[in-house]
């Protein structure tokens, strides 16, 4: 019998982009599943961009940072740009003091600006392709 997944992070598609919002605490197994789900969805939908909303996350520790950076790196290998949105002020303060860096990930204040940032950067990439 297949195990039922009670814990799942939904991944939605709009235009050429995937949107996901992390609403539950990520633990190892869920993080691995989330990474795999995202990559499969990227392959299936041929998305060009990924928005990860972390509005509901109240602690970003070294583990979550590593997971987010890994997702962005994996997505990049599949030609997808990642934008992180919804970082709360207290988390931004803590991250800087802690000394953690979200390298390789674009940031935007909220979902709306995240999507417009993706539109801009994926258009630039298209133009580069057309010229080259």
């Amino acid at each position: 019998m297949k195990e039922i997944d009670y814990e799942q992070i939904p991944i939605l598609k709009i235009e050429d982009f995937l949107i996901t919002s992390i609403q539950i605490p990520l633990h190892d197994r869920l993080a691995v599943k989330f990474q795999r789900d995202l990559l499969q969805k990227i392959e299936k939908t041929k998305a060009k961009g990924l928005v990860i909303d972390i509005t509901a996350i109240d602690v970003v520790d070294s583990f979550i940072t590593r997971i987010l950076v890994e997702i962005a790196k994996m997505a990049k290998l599949m030609g997808v740009k990642t934008v992180l949105v919804g970082m709360r002020p207290e988390i931004a303060i803590t991250l800087v003091e802690f000394g953690m860096e979200l390298e390789g990930i674009m940031m935007a204040l909220n979902l709306e600006s995240g999507i417009s940032l993706l539109r801009r950067v994926t258009n630039e990439t298209n133009e580069e392709r057309n010229v080259g």
Binding site: S62, F63, F98, G99, M100
Partner: protein, 138 residues
């Protein structure tokens, strides 16, 4: 999770307990009057300590209590395990050091988020990390 006098003890055995430890310490810090930024600093530091227990020792406890010293109130957290212990404490506090494939800012980063940070450990003797955040008088 048990209530012992005014101490809260969280048994840390799996990664799910890391979430519980964070929630307990955040709730206590909030009750004591810590602001949102300090709550987040403390919860993040505790998250690192709890993860260290799970990754390096397998199991241990997180003990949270309110302390008073010279008219100052603070929250004290002890992370105690009977794991393999740390041979070079200076080394694990250095940024970029990671013994088990984590990001390598864990303990050093946690130290920067709190007011007091102390590690007692020796190989084979387990590890106790003590952190304190003082409630600043406004």
């Amino acid at each position: 999770m048990k209530l012992m006098d005014d101490e809260r003890v969280v048994e840390v055995k799996s990664e799910y307990d890391i979430v519980i430890a964070r929630a307990v310490v955040r709730a206590i810090a909030k009750d004591m009057g810590f602001g949102l930024v300090d709550q987040t600093r403390i919860a993040t530091a505790v998250s690192e300590l709890a993860r260290n227990i799970v990754v390096h020792a397998g199991e241990g406890i997180i003990l949270v209590r309110e302390i008073i010293k010279g008219g100052s109130r603070g929250v004290e957290v002890l992370a105690i395990d009977q794991g393999p212990g740390i041979s070079d404490i200076e080394l694990v506090l250095r940024d970029g050091y990671s013994s088990k494939g984590s990001l390598g800012v864990g303990l050093g980063g946690a130290k920067r988020l709190v007011d007091e940070f102390e590690i007692k450990s020796a190989p084979g003797k387990g590890t106790t990390v003590r952190i304190v955040k003082w409630l600043s008088v406004r």
